[in-house]
């Protein structure tokens, strides 16, 4: 069975600094996708970044980047130049490519507080 683990329930960072959120997963699949979703307080969940397992290059989206270590089954999210608007709960999620239905498996979430 596929599992996703986020071992940091809560984190905080000073505005303008860099923070890394950890995520590990367990799968026997070789083709899959990994995602980071952001859920701001009282607002809708939105996609932050996506990584395809067959791509060796780490995905980046502006201030957000990932460190994808396929052999270690690790998928961390780095937020550079943290902003107050980055305060949110962040979920790591796994989707295996052999599925025809796009089911996501989520981690437990990490609450990030950006302090001024």
């Amino acid at each position: 069975a596929q599992t996703v683990t986020q071992s940091q329930p809560e984190m905080s960072v000073q505005e303008a600094e860099t923070v890394t959120l950890s995520c590990t997963y367990d799968t026997s699949e070789s083709n899959y996708y990994l995602f980071w979703y952001k859920q701001p307080p009282s607002r809708q969940m939105i996609l932050v970044i996506r990584q395809e397992a067959y791509k060796q290059q780490n995905a980046t989206e502006n201030r957000f980047s990932v460190n994808f270590q396929k052999a270690a089954k690790s998928f961390s999210l780095k937020i550079s130049d943290s902003q107050l608007g980055d305060t949110a709960m962040y979920f790591c999620a796994f989707l295996y490519g052999s599925s025809n239905t796009g089911k996501l498996i989520f981690g437990q979430g990490t609450t990030l507080q950006v302090k001024p």
Partner: protein, 113 residues
């Protein structure tokens, strides 16, 4: 922009009541999903649908049923609400298979007393 809406942001029901949660998406997505979100557990899939009138159980379907009569609408039904179903319920939709992004609704916080 993709829009996923849910019928209520907050809902309070009594034990034993039948509860309907509705979700509507406006982007012609094939797939729709219902999750429940609980602290420390992340999101867990209740049911999903990959086409009209098609449904499949997720990881925690007990006590729930779903209905998808139209492509844009996906309903979650609690046949007889219980206090352990007090939770945040999130609806999502996606274009199809192959790693497409899921778009989420704002959520319904259901309290069963």
């Amino acid at each position: 922009d993709v829009k996923v809406t849910q019928s209520s942001r907050y809902l309070v029901k009594r034990t034993g009541e039948k509860v309907f949660l509705e979700c509507v998406q406006d982007m012609d997505h094939e797939n729709m999903f219902w999750y429940r979100q609980d602290p420390g557990l992340g999101l867990r899939l209740i049911y999903f649908s990959y086409d009209v009138k098609m449904k499949e159980k997720g990881d925690i379907p007990e006590g729930y049923s779903v209905s998808r009569e139209k492509k844009e609408r996906f309903s979650l039904i609690l046949e007889s609400a219980s206090t352990n179903q007090t939770s945040m319920y999130l609806c999502a939709s996606s274009f199809g298979t192959g790693g497409y992004e899921q778009y989420f609704g704002p959520g319904t916080r259901l309290t069963v007393t």
